[in-house]
Symmetry: C2
Subunit: 126 residues, 2 copies
DNA sequence: GCATATATGTTAGGTGGCTAACAAGATGTC
DNA sequence: GACATCTTGTTAGCCACCTAACATATATGC
């Protein structure tokens, strides 16, 4: 879905999220993005690498903690970001017409299920 | 989650589903599995290839239609299948404790949303 | 100060998903 | 019978996710 909207620009969904963060919120530490996107360090590293190769973002090592890298859009990145379509229509297309109550229940069930499975994983490594 | 349960056996989730089908239902045409797993031909081709390389399943070309391939467990596959743990606990762990009504609503919302997004994809290729 | 531990990022190797393009067999039409 | 078309499977190339192992840099402990 998002894929379809982003393919013309040569981006994947997660790449879009990274640009979204940097475009809307501003320069962000890579480790912060790991938290925001709920993705492994290693996964993000690859995605960031891709965007850097494409010349859309830069990694600037922090001056005080040389391990951490600040991510920010390059001029090319800013320009592309400005061209990207609005993706709000996706949410609308998917969920318009359901009652708020139903959506709330759905959200609650899925969140709880996810949490439980995570607890199982931590609690039961035989 | 499944991953955790299957890793000791060196299997991924979709590989497990294939073994499950062949173990529970019996030999199955590859094109039938595409339908059952709701996956692209190409994707299944890779997964089947992996299982064949591992010696767990075989591809037998149909005698009348040489394009189609019947998949079936090898002796090694049967033996592994017998050793695999029950995965029902996953569903229980995730969804026990919710009312049937809430689960029904969740299912309905997600199914409908999925369907709508698919329609968008077919109807709107600008 | 030095050794150990912790945090951050990268690399290597797996799984699984997709599209596009191709090969080969089966079918249909004329 | 010959050609066009549909079906099935494979291959190549991409995205995204994961764990494990490693390199560095910072922080802690003694």
């Amino acid at each position: 879905m998002m894929e379809a909207a982003l393919r013309p620009h040569g981006l994947g969904a997660t790449q879009w999220y990274v640009l979204h963060q940097l475009g809307h919120v501003g320069p962000t530490m890579q480790r912060e993005l790991v938290r925001l996107l709920r993705v492994e360090r290693a996964t993000l590293s690859i995605i960031v690498g891709t965007l850097v190769r494409k010349g859309l973002i830069e990694q600037v090592p922090d001056t005080v903690d040389q391990r951490q890298k600040l991510l920010r859009l390059t001029p090319a990145g800013k320009s592309l970001w400005a061209d990207l379509p609005d993706l709000g229509f996706i949410h609308d297309a998917a969920f318009a017409g359901f009652s708020k109550a139903d959506i709330a229940i759905t959200t609650r069930v899925l969140k709880a299920a996810t949490e439980r499975l995570n607890q199982h994983l931590e609690g039961e490594p035989t």
